[in-house]
Structure formats: structure tokens, C-alpha cells
Symmetry: C2
Subunit: 451 residues, 2 copies
């Protein structure tokens, strides 16, 4: 087992690319045969579209299904587009029902109907149930392959039953215990099943502390429940407590990874499902919207500068120095906003502590404002040999750093209350404040004092 | 089970704060008694330091240990500072050895020795072994509570052995199979143990495909292995293949969460372990360094502006428009850099596809450059009624957007090759390029053409 996992992967991707360029089918097949589904999925995601499609054609159809369960939504759609309806049904057949439902959701609406109609009855029913729940809820995540037992039997009955079944679904760490109507009562951990006497009743050792999850619970809360209770799997129930399915930790790991990536991508106006090799025109179209919004905020800052054009004409040093004030404010505000956004995303910011956080951040802004006003004020004096200018610069910088801290804390809180994603919109609003205010205070003071 | 997990938590935190303010000990105790360790850890992390310490004193010492395993490093140190050495030993005694090692690592060096000396021999040996591995490797993550069996016994022997043990460590999904010397041979999944006949030999159904992880494997690679193979737990081995311990999925979930937060926090020069209620002076000290580096890049941009002071004096519109060019370049570059940094972090960017990505991103930059040059050039004409100025502006904007795409892709790749964290340093280097180049092209062209 090598520690250089990611380096090996990059090398393999290189070799695959060369094999694709040389149209060396045997070599492609050979390289692919050494990889598990998740690794092939990663290589597909990181391949330019043409290479991706050549590779996809070389993958055995009995492997394609599992690979699709590991690709992100955009790449999944991209690969499905290249396939015939009957091929899609074929690869879906071996998958768990939650993964079949994912494939159904990645198809255009009219293909979805044909696809569902082609499934066998059991799968179709399970998939149709899954599709009644939004993709980002427990119901949309669950698979229907779970084992449920009754509470009034002894462990040796359970053990015999499991041997009769011959196989237990992957990632099973507990059996669900249900009553006569299929209502969830609790769980029997496999570890308890293995350490208690065979004549013990299930009812005596069943664990009622493990939560069952309602089908409409948002995926983010599902992840929190798993983390809080160190779960490996959990039952999903409907409003009548009937067990519908099961969520396993591997689904939760995906949610947590996406959650982490969301904040990073959203702050640049990007989607965490973005295909890195989306066609340039499609990528440009998406990003141009974000640039347009940014332009509006930049124009606003320019208008503020325009208010003081007469002053700049007389003292050109103002134009030279003004970007420093805006830039420092932007950085300081981003630091505060990043902390606040993360605290909110992890549910750590409520009414009780947001005031304390605001006070702390403003104090940090004040301290940093004092330090940098002193240092840069001195530097400006040596640069332009003008005491008044350096004092005005220092004062404007300090004001902007304090305002940046306040805005960095208040803007995400405000956006959350407005039900706007703070990770997406905070950065732009913050820069609007720090740029415009920075320019206004600096140029305004200079106009009053120096002219 | 409510779906409003985070709202409930915020409410509870509010109630706790009020109880602390009113010094209502009974109410604090009552509220805390309804929470599991992970929830209390989150509330401690999200409480201002004074509240945190009052709450900590009200928590039973037999709960404190487990709570500490869920707090981040900085909060853990902060809480340990308030405790007596014998109290720390007391709460550590019930923990798994990996968590005891974490506590040891959070203590100042001289306290660490006393702490280790006070542990019982078994724990001390296990902790000292763990401490020989860096915290962010498999050896630093592992706990030593695993069950290993021999390959030449039948399943009924294993089942009897487990019943004799009476308990199996948490998150156990498989037993490790070792030879006479303790060398790892493979794993026996509990689900296989439960579905095969009792007279089957372990050797016949042991799974050799599950990887054992070398103790020095970096935690990032550990997480990839778990994700790739959908593992619940895995054996950690030394260079002689002797089993040293076990890593479980709950540790891996923490790694994945931290990985996700790293990119977000690092781009603002922050650490993902940052205590949101660190004392203001300490927080200011850390952030001031980042502001200082940013100042250098801002001064560099100002010097570029200073080169053209004569031009600005004559055409003040240049000073009004120049921030727009810098700002649009910064945003476009950040979009590209964010995509590249994420692709690198997930191991998706190698030699084979970085050229394709560079071409794609530059094309996106060119397309967006054309669109916005056209739109903003027109807007500038209506604002200043000057064809030459608007053409120069449009041209400079287009150049800067293309350069931003190039820089956004190349800077993270360059930093990675230099072994500098791209998530940390890309943003600043990128802004230096987009600001300075934007100012230079715009003001330089204007100077040549208009004056």
C-alpha cells in the first residue's frame, strides 16, 4: 500500500492520455483493469471531454454503473448523453436503488419516463419512491436494501436468518428492529449480536438511542446526525415511522466533502458540481454573470472616486494611495467574513454568541487598524514628505479596517436572515463596502483638509 | 428526531448563555444533561472564553474526556490550561489511546512528561508509540483497541472468542487476521462471519483486498483510501507489517471536514483550527501578518500607478476607471484559481490534463474578455464621451481578463511545484498580477495614445 496515492493517480492519468492519443486500445484496457470504480470516476472527471468519451467506450458495461455512482452530477449527465436508452437500463440493473434514482435524475425528463418503464417492477417501485423525495433529503439519499428483524425473537433465530440470507448489504453495522407493521423500534448492533448469548431476546439488547431519520430531513442535518452519533448507518422512516430505507456513512462522507467545497467554490461564484472540463462557452456563460455583478460593485466604487475628481487632479498622490486603503479593507473584512461564514455553516453561530463575536472582531479590526495606520502612515510620510497626507491616509485606513470587521461580521448574518447563501454573496457585498467606504473616507478627508 | 438540528442547537446555546449570565447552576446542569459529548463540544467551541470556562466547570469529569475528543486543537488547549494535572489524568483514563495521545499533544512540553508518567503502563506505552508518529499520519490517528484473530481457526471459535470478550470496540466492521508474529494477513468482515457456516475456516473467507495502512501514510491519503474502498475501519501496520492499531471512519470524517475547511480558511490567511473566540489580541497578531503581506502587494500596485502620475493629473478619468479593470481581473482570476486549487486538492490535476485545463481557462478568459470589453467599452463612452478612452479601457480590460485566467491557472501550479500551499498563497500572488498588470496596461496605453 503506497502512501503516494495522488502521485500514482496523476501518473496513471498521464499514461491513459498517451494511450488515448495513440489510440492504443489494449493499453487503455490494461491500465483501466488495475483501477477500482472510484478511481476511474476521478480520472473521468479530470479528463478533457474528448478523452473522457474515448475512455468511457473502453469500460466494460458491467463496471460503468458503479463508476457513475462516483462521478459528480455534471459529469454523470455528460456521460449518459453519449449512451443509448437500453445501455443505460443495462448498467443500472446491478446498482442499488438510490444509485438508480440518481441516474434517473440525471436524465432529461422525457428519457426519464422511458428509463423508469424499462426497469423491473421492484426497482421501479423503489426508484419511484426515492424520486418522490428531493435529492438533497434523507429520502433522496437512502437505498432500500436493509435487513429488518422482529424484537420478540432470540439471537440464535437472527443468526440462523442471516445465514439463510447468505449475504448482508455493504456497510451494515446494525439490523433494524421493526414491529408487526414495519414501524421502527430500534437497532441491533452486529457487535452486540456477536457478544451476547444466543438465547438473549432481541428486545433485551436492542438499542433505542440510535435515531431513525425522517425522509424529509435535509442532507446537511443527516450529516450532522451521523457525525454527532458516530453512526455507520441509520434507518430512514416516513411520517408513520415505517422504515423506508437506509443511509450509510459513504453517502454521508460525500455530503461532508461537498459541504466543504461549497464555501470555497461559492465565494468565487462557482458551483461545487462544476465539471472542470465543461466546454469553454458553457463555463464562460456561467462565470460572466458573476463578473457582471462584480462590475456593478466596481462601478459604484468608481462613482465614489468620480465625486472627488477635482481633488485627484490637484493631488495625484491620492490616486496612487487609494487602492492600498481599499485592498487592506477588503482583506481584513474577508478574514472576518470567512470566520463568520464557517461558524454559521457548522451551526456554531446563534443569537447568544453573535454579539460577542461582533465585539471580538471589531476589537481585532481596531487593533490591526492602529498597528497598520501607524506603520503605513509613517511610510507614506517618507514617500510623499507630506505630514497632512500621511495623517489622513492613516486615519482613513484605520476607519476602513474597523468598518471592514463590522461589515465582515454583519453582512453574512444579514444574508442568512434574508435566506441568501452567505458563502455566495458575502464577498461581493463586502468589497462594495470596503472599496467605496475606503475611497470615500480617504478622498473626502483629503478634499476637506488639503484643498 | 427533528430536522431542525441546527436551530435547536442555537436555541440551546442561547438558553445556556442566559443560565450562565444568571449564574443558574441547576439550569446549566439540566440543559447540559440533554446533550451528547459532540454537541457540548460544539457549544464550547462557539462560546466566548468566559462562558466556555463557566460551562466547563459544570461538566461532570467523566464526560469531560469524551468532550475533549470532539473539540478542535485550539479550544482543547484552552480548556486544558484551566485544569490541574491530576484532573487531566483522571479524565484521560477512560479514553481510547489515540485520544489520550491528542490530549498529550495539546499540553505544554513540560506538562506532557508529567502527564505521561501518571498514566498506567499500558496506556503510557500505547500513547508513547502514537507520539512517535506525526499527528497527521495514520500512526498519529490510530487507536490501539483492535481485535485480531488467527487464520487457521474456524468461525465458531471466533464467535466463542467474541462472546468471551463480551464487548467489541466501537465502529468495528471487521476483525484483523494476523499470523503468529502479529503480521497483517487480511480482514474478516463481521457480515461474512455472520453469513457463513460455523465450521468454515477464517482462512477460507478472509478478505485480502482490504488495504492495511502504513503508519507514516499522511492523513490525506488515509482519507482517500477510505473513500476509495468505502472502508469503515482499517488496520495500521509498521514497516514489518505488524499490526499497530486501527483507524475508524469517524476519524476520517474529521479529516475530510478539515480538508474542506482548509481551502476556505487558508485563502483568507486563516488556520482551520482557529478558535472563533480566541482573545482579540492573539487573533489580531495572527491576522496582522497576513495584512502585512497584502500591504506589500498593494504598495507594488501603487508604485505602478505612480509611474503614470503625470497622465492621471491630465486625465482624471483614468483614476476613476482604473479600479474597475483591476477588480474584474481579480474576480476572473479567482474563479480560475479556485477551480485549479480544488482540482489539485482532490488529486485531479496532473501533467496530462493541466495543459488542457490551461487552454480551456484561457479560452474562457478570452470569451469573457470580449463580452465585457464590448459592454463596458460602450458604457465608458457614454460616461466620458471619449472614443479613444473607451477603446483603451476595453482593450486593457480584455488583456487583464486573459492574463487573469492564465495567472489563475499557472500560479497554483507553480506554488504546488515550489511546495507552497496553493490555497494559502495563490490569492495574494494573483491579485498582485491582476492589479499591477491591469493598472500598467490601462495607464500605459492611455499615456502613449492620449497624451
Amino acid at each position: 500500500m503506497s502512501g503516494n496515492n495522488s502521485i500514482d493517480k496523476a501518473k496513471l492519468a498521464d499514461q491513459l492520455l498517451i494511450a488515448v492519443e495513440n489510440n492504443n486500445i489494449d493499453h487503455i484496457q490494461d491500465l483501466l483493469s488495475h483501477l477500482v470504480a472510484e478511481e476511474i470516476a476521478e480520472i473521468l472527471e479530470s479528463s478533457p471531454i474528448k478523452v473522457r468519451q474515448v475512455l468511457w467506450q473502453q469500460i466494460d458495461s458491467d463496471k460503468q454503473g458503479e463508476i457513475l455512482t462516483h462521478t459528480n452530477d455534471e459529469v454523470k449527465s455528460n456521460l449518459l448523453e453519449t449512451m443509448q436508452p437500453h445501455e443505460i437500463v443495462e448498467i443500472a440493473e446491478d446498482l442499488q436503488t438510490d444509485d438508480i434514482a440518481d441516474i434517473a435524475q440525471s436524465l432529461p425528463i422525457h428519457d426519464q419516463k422511458t428509463f423508469l418503464a424499462s426497469l423491473n417492477e421492484d426497482d421501479r417501485n423503489a426508484v419511484e419512491t426515492a424520486l418522490t423525495y428531493p435529492e438533497d433529503t434523507a429520502g433522496g439519499l437512502m437505498s432500500t436494501d436493509f435487513i429488518s428483524i422482529r424484537a420478540d425473537v432470540s439471537l440464535d433465530v437472527v443468526l440462523r436468518y442471516l445465514r439463510t440470507l447468505g449475504a448482508i448489504p455493504e456497510s451494515t453495522s446494525e439490523l433494524f428492529v421493526a414491529d408487526r407493521d414495519g414501524k421502527y423500534i430500534g437497532s441491533l448492533k452486529l457487535t452486540h449480536l456477536l457478544t451476547h448469548d444466543e438465547d438473549t431476546l432481541v428486545a433485551d439488547i436492542l438499542d433505542q438511542s440510535l435515531p431513525a431519520i425522517r425522509a424529509f430531513t435535509p442532507e446537511k442535518d443527516v450529516a450532522h446526525l451521523f457525525e454527532k452519533n458516530d453512526l455507520i448507518s441509520a434507518a430512514v422512516i416516513n411520517e408513520n415511522h415505517i422504515i423506508l430505507g437506509r443511509i450509510t456513512i459513504d453517502d454521508v462522507v460525500d455530503i461532508i466533502r461537498e459541504e466543504g467545497e461549497h464555501a470555497q467554490m461559492a465565494s468565487a461564484g462557482l458551483d461545487e458540481d462544476e465539471d472542470i472540463f465543461a466546454p469553454a462557452a458553457r463555463a464562460a456563460k456561467r462565470r460572466t454573470f458573476w463578473l457582471g455583478i462584480n462590475l456593478l460593485t466596481a462601478i459604484f466604487a468608481s462613482i465614489v472616486i468620480g465625486l472627488f475628481d477635482a481633488s485627484i487632479e490637484k493631488i495625484v498622490a491620492l490616486a496612487i494611495l487609494m487602492p492600498i486603503i481599499a485592498s487592506m479593507g477588503g482583506i481584513a473584512g474577508t478574514q472576518t467574513a470567512t470566520i463568520v461564514i464557517r461558524a454559521m455553516a457548522t451551526g456554531k453561530l446563534g443569537r447568544s454568541n453573535s454579539r460577542s463575536l461582533l465585539i471580538k472582531e471589531t476589537t481585532v479590526g481596531l487593533l490591526n487598524g492602529l498597528i497598520w495606520a501607524l506603520l503605513t502612515g509613517t511610510a507614506v510620510f517618507f514617500w510623499f514628505s507630506d505630514w497632512s497626507l500621511s495623517l489622513i491616509f492613516a486615519f482613513a485606513l484605520m476607519i476602513n479596517l474597523i468598518a471592514a470587521a463590522l461589515a465582515g461580521a454583519l453582512i453574512p448574518l444579514f444574508l442568512q436572515r434574508m435566506k441568501i447563501d452567505p458563502a455566495l454573496a458575502s464577498g461581493l457585498m463586502l468589497t462594495t463596502v470596503t472599496d467605496s467606504l475606503g475611497f470615500f473616507v480617504f478622498l473626502g478627508l483629503a478634499t476637506i483638509v488639503l484643498l
